[in-house]
Subunit: 115 residues, 4 copies
């Protein structure tokens, strides 16, 4: 990873990495949910995953660029990741359970950034 | 990283990782270029970095979701990364030289995906 | 709309407008498809809509900034819009039929840009 | 524009339109700022424009999809648009003055959505 030089930058890097893992898990989980036999009961979960994937992708860009709005953006990202984790945790598939874990980790890193 | 299970998926993961490193390097490099005393002569480079950061971010989302258009998207991403590498390599700053390296690695991984 | 001054710029503006209408129609259609009783048979359509919404949104940004890669980006956007139109046209709901129309109009404008 | 059926939807449409005009103005203004002889003194403005263009683009997607987080997203979008308007208004070029106007209008529509 580029330019990891001190503790602030390490925290940035941890948050970028968490956002990317969460984005990836959400995109994969959404694709998998669409193939499940009970997809009809998953529309709320799928809508959460759309938002969560998008905000995590943009958060990783904004942290990278050193945006002035990183704290506020990460605070909203944390809220959405937490809600997405709660929703995904309701489904027993591996992809949902794993996604819930990545969402929770991302929420935690984003809260640290927002603090 | 989520769900790495076989060689195709490993290739996907390598491309996602390369796209993210390249996106991050481009966003950082753009921010740094804006602070350089010769920023006026860097407008072409900065415009390349905008496009390269964006397409790498979206490529990582599309690979993650298993888009039908991954090959075509990665082919265009490779073209842009290669051009961005050539442009960044002209500047002697660390951030430009590092960014050129990440762009070249991403171009290579994207070409493999597009093959 | 900002700065419409001549025929090239008018063509740019028509393509931006078509991309935005298509993005909006795809996002709305995806949300509506998730509520349909036959959502299970629509996973391919939903995956097309995800890609189409994203590429149209980015196309509108790249045209606005005057990216060097507008032609190549719009060419890929046209391919995806055309495929999304074909897929949406299979469903009889208003939202799918309307979305197919917006996708076709966007494909046409993007082909003009790519020419 | 698709599916304008009542006052809530009209407000949604007005906000989407304002976000798109603001995104376009920001992307155009950023490209123009990079060509100005005093670009070196505009780095803060350029960084604001990057964030403002991105958040307006994503806001238009989230409003279109009917995201649960529209209010919170639009509130942050309004904050960033307002700050970008203030920054752009400092420069006397047409592109900066026009961009400031589009940013202010978008901030106003986003505040209505967030209310």
């Amino acid at each position: 990873m580029p330019t990891v030089v001190n503790s602030t930058v390490q925290q940035y890097q941890m948050c970028i990495d968490a956002c990317i893992k969460c984005m990836q898990a959400c995109e994969e989980c959404l694709t998998s949910c669409l193939k499940e036999p009970d997809v009809q009961s998953r529309s709320h979960c799928i809508n959460m995953l759309r938002d969560c994937a998008d905000i995590c992708a943009m958060a990783s860009q904004w942290i990278s660029r050193g945006s002035m709005y990183v704290k506020q953006f990460c605070q909203l990202c944390a809220t959405i990741c937490e809600a997405c984790a709660t929703e995904c945790a309701k489904y027993q598939d591996n992809h949902c359970q794993q996604c819930a874990d990545f969402c929770r980790e991302c929420a935690e890193e984003c809260r640290k950034m927002a603090a």
